[in-house]
């Protein structure tokens, strides 16, 4: 056994909790992962975006040692997800997208069993999360709704002392109130120094919670970076027609990629630079102004919308 828990490794925390390069996985003739890259920095929340069937769950299952990769490299907390699975799992908690429990046991029993499998038993901590998620632990799992089964796994994961949380579409089935509790819990986990990989297709959730975002498509990473890095892609696109010379706007902070055509100009602008820009435009005598605010969703759809139109999207760096 490689020394995963060895003092040298765990104290000198690797800067990447998850480090994946060129991961490949085939199921019979279907290619599920085709050179996927993914990184989760220690102590951060990483968003993992992609539609159903794009390979998010497959990636997470490979990282959990449930599936074996056909190619590429994956390092997890400094260890190998397949060979060091048992040792690594003490430090990992997982919430599956569709939680199945033992129908004849209660939710409380299931949480304790999942904790015991990791070698933990912290009644107070479990109770506090039960209260926050408003879950009745005395009900048999067979009578739980999907949302309640999800809560069982969430309580077990958050109440654990795991360093790394894998959350696979965890808010599926939760009501908005509980989504709020979930957001708090993830933020707390980060402040405790834990790392989180959050797979989701709720853009608002990812924008709110995640430090970095990885967008995948057909088993391949098409976009990744910190949210602030991606924010430069998140500039609004503005088109103006002015009495004055639109070139003057180019000097303004936050204005990029200005293309002027006589009185007309199109450029992008950081959202923080909007007040200054509007003041400058007002001085230049605006006759027409159109502003299109992009979002993570737009950025995401850029990689998929093209697909719908029938064109193959080109390299991910097509967006400046």
């Amino acid at each position: 056994m490689r020394s995963v828990k060895g003092d040298g490794v765990s104290h000198m925390t690797p800067s990447l909790a998850v480090d994946v390069h060129g991961l490949r996985k085939n199921f019979d003739s279907t290619r599920a992962l085709d050179g996927l890259d993914l990184a989760v920095e220690t102590g951060t929340v990483a968003g993992f975006l992609g539609p159903n069937g794009s390979g998010k769950s497959t990636t997470i299952r490979i990282l959990l040692g449930l599936l074996r990769a056909d190619g590429g490299q994956a390092t997890l907390l400094g260890g190998d997800p397949w060979h060091d699975a048992v040792e690594l799992h003490r430090r990992i908690a997982y919430v599956a997208g569709d939680v199945t429990l033992w129908p004849s046991l209660t939710g409380g029993q299931a949480i304790d069993i999942l904790g015991a499998l990791r070698g933990e038993h912290d009644r107070e901590r479990v109770d506090s999360f039960l209260a926050r998620f408003d879950l009745d632990p005395t009900k048999k799992a067979r009578s739980y709704s999907k949302g309640n089964r999800q809560k069982v796994a969430l309580v077990a994961a958050f109440a654990s002392r795991a360093e790394l949380l894998f959350l696979d579409e965890p808010t599926n089935g939760l009501d908005p109130l509980m989504e709020g509790v979930f957001t708090e819990c993830v933020t707390e986990a980060r402040s405790e120094g834990r790392s989180v990989l959050l797979s989701s297709h709720v853009f608002a959730e990812v924008e709110k919670l995640c430090d970095t975002v990885t967008i995948i498509r057909d088993g391949r990473t098409v976009e990744s970076g910190t949210l602030s890095e991606l924010r430069h892609l998140k500039r609004s696109t503005v088109t103006v027609t002015l009495d004055g010379d639109p070139r003057e706007l180019e000097a303004l902070e936050g204005v990029h990629d200005l293309v002027a055509d006589g009185e007309r100009a199109t450029f992008t602008v950081d959202s923080v630079a909007l007040p200054g820009l509007l003041a400058a435009i007002a001085r230049l005598g605006p006759r027409e102004l159109v502003s299109t605010p992009p979002s993570l969703e737009e950025l995401f759809l850029r990689h998929y919308g093209v697909h719908v139109a029938g064109e193959k999207p080109e390299s991910p760096t097509a967006v400046p």
Partner: protein, 553 residues
């Protein structure tokens, strides 16, 4: 279908209650086709197996009792408490049809009843439990359409089995009226249990609960009839018989007096139960049961937090049920063994089939009964070990395998229950058989040799576990079917191999017949070989399990 419903609805315009009633059943036709589509193979296999058994047993009995003289001789000794208790009153034992009924009627009736009980739960409560019914009922589907369709399809299935069994008997030259009535009596008793299963499906919240409720009613019906028949006057029915649906169907006395009217009772009760089921369905919410769900503990006990404890807890119910069943069966065999041995003359093929290679008929029979106990233990063990596959196919391994336990340790923890329980159950069933047999012959010292003879089957139980592990690891998606088919084949060859005239190298080399029986000279070699096979198969299975991708979910 849609047009029919539309017409019905239009015609009943202005009559709200009639319309509501029709709406409650709308879509039944589509659902019937849907249920047929999902179950036709399962049902076809039942038809072939049951009708095939009728043909095979008639054939074997014709060999066993070739002349009228041998049949008359059999009839003179057939009416014993053992036969009465196990299979019913031997009222026409001097005819081939009567002998067929003694040998096979109860087996077919019970098997068919179990078939409809399982089919009903599988297509009713199980579907509701996993949420598929919700999906269907949200569409244009009446509240009762699914249940009604299931009831009708499975009622049709029992009728087909009845006709097929009758046709099988007629093809073997048995009298047509008796054969038809025999087939109808199978249908009749199964219809009653179709009704019982439908009501159970309304009362219980889970398919498992529905199955055990309906199976309990079946077991009680069997026991009531057994008590009635043991206390009968000659081959005339005791009044108690009329408390059991199995008794009603047997009182048709096919190949004997050929009475059709008791079937009316079956039909009436079946319809009544069907009506009760529909009424209950109208009164309850989707997904709920009428038997209440109790609140459970808010946390896991120290035992439950261990892997073995968890697996023990999950199998608690079935472990208790099987233990009781196996002990009751063994106690029963012990009391009737001497009576049965008296009845078997050593020179018939039947006697030889029972007694195997034993020198003594009684010892041979006791050895045969000990093997039957071992086969029952093996069925429990198979079901118990199969939890490895069931956990994975249900998706529960996703959370368990991603925790700090290796797959091999996880699997071994789940195998502790079948490994230990098989040892305990073999010892218990051997002791139960020995104690009651000892009491019957006035020799209390019998238990010991029965316990040892029974424990000799432990390697066989281990082999069953190992094969389950191997299948669950190597072919997870079809493992359950493959292991049960293998088990079924082992049971048939072990119990009836000689009767069917299979060559010795087949019939004497199953994991159960290879074990030296009670009363035979004991040699450890077969036990060692079977145990070695078990270790090898189990080892390969665990190794595959730890190397492959997780499936399911």
């Amino acid at each position: 279908m849609n047009t029919t419903v539309g017409t019905l609805v239009r015609r009943s315009n202005g009559n709200d209650s009639a319309r509501a009633l029709r709406n409650a059943y709308s879509g039944s036709g589509i659902m019937a086709r849907f249920i047929l589509h999902r179950n036709w193979l399962r049902m076809l296999i039942w038809v072939i197996v049951l009708a095939g058994m009728v043909v095979l047993v008639i054939d074997s009995q014709r060999v066993a009792f070739p002349t009228q003289a041998t049949r008359d001789a059999y009839a003179r000794v057939a009416n014993t408490p053992a036969i009465a208790a196990l299979t019913g009153l031997p009222y026409a034992a001097g005819t081939l049809g009567g002998i067929l009924n003694i040998k096979l009627w109860m087996t077919v009736a019970i098997a068919l009843s179990f078939a409809v009980i399982f089919l009903t739960a599988r297509n009713g409560r199980a579907e509701e439990e996993n949420g598929r019914t919700e999906l269907l009922r949200a569409g244009v589907l009446g509240r009762h359409a699914y249940s009604l369709a299931g009831g009708l399809v499975f009622a049709g299935f029992t009728a087909v089995v009845g006709v097929a069994c009758a046709a099988g008997a007629i093809s073997q030259g048995l009298p047509a009226e008796g054969a038809l009535l025999m087939g109808a009596s199978f249908t009749g008793v199964a219809l009653v249990f179709l009704g019982v299963a439908s009501v159970a499906g309304q009362l219980a919240r889970t398919s498992r609960g529905a199955n055990s409720l309906a199976s309990t009613v079946l077991a009680i019906s069997y026991l009531v009839r057994a008590v009635a028949d043991v206390n009968s006057d000659g081959d005339r029915a005791n009044g108690l018989t009329w408390l059991s649906p199995i008794g009603w169907a047997q009182q048709t006395r096919s190949y004997g007096e050929n009475q059709w009217w008791p079937l009316l009772l079956c039909l009436l009760v079946a319809l009544l139960l069907g009506g009760v089921a529909l009424t209950l369905e109208r009164r309850r919410d989707l997904g709920s049961g009428l038997l209440p769900d109790r609140a459970g503990p808010r946390g896991a006990s120290a035992l439950l937090r261990t892997q073995v404890g968890l697996s023990l807890r999950l199998q608690r119910g079935s472990l208790i049920g099987w233990t009781l069943g196996i002990i009751v069966g063994a106690l029963f065999y012990g009391t009737v063994a001497t009576a049965m041995a008296d009845l078997l003359s050593a020179d018939t093929p039947i006697a030889q089939a029972f007694t195997g290679r034993s020198k003594d008929v009684l010892d041979g029979l006791l050895g045969y009964l000990t093997m039957i106990n071992a086969l029952l233990v093996a069925a429990f063990v198979l079901q118990s070990a199969d939890s490895i596959r069931a956990e994975e196919s249900s998706g529960r391994t996703e959370l368990q395998w991603s925790s700090a336990t290796s797959r091999v340790r996880w699997a071994l923890a789940r195998l502790v229950v079948p490994v230990v329980a098989s040892l305990g159950l073999l010892a218990l069933s051997g002791a139960a058989l020995g104690v009651t047999f000892g009491a019957a012959i006035g020799d209390p010292g019998q238990a010991g040799r029965f316990v040892w003879a029974s424990l000799a089957y432990w390697p066989s139980a281990l082999l069953v576990i190992a094969v389950v592990v191997l299948c669950a690891a190597a072919i997870p998606r079809v493992a359950a079917t493959v292991t049960w088919v293998l088990y079924g084949a082992a049971v048939i060859v072990s119990m009836f191999g000689d009767l069917f005239g299979l060559p010795d190298w087949v019939s004497q080399n199953t994991p159960f017949t290879a074990i030296p029986r009670l009363g035979m000279d004991f040699t450890p070699l077969p036990l060692v070989v079977i145990a070695a096979l078990a270790v090898a198969a189990g080892g390969v299975g665990l190794s595959i399990l730890s190397r492959r991708d997780m499936t399911g979910a």
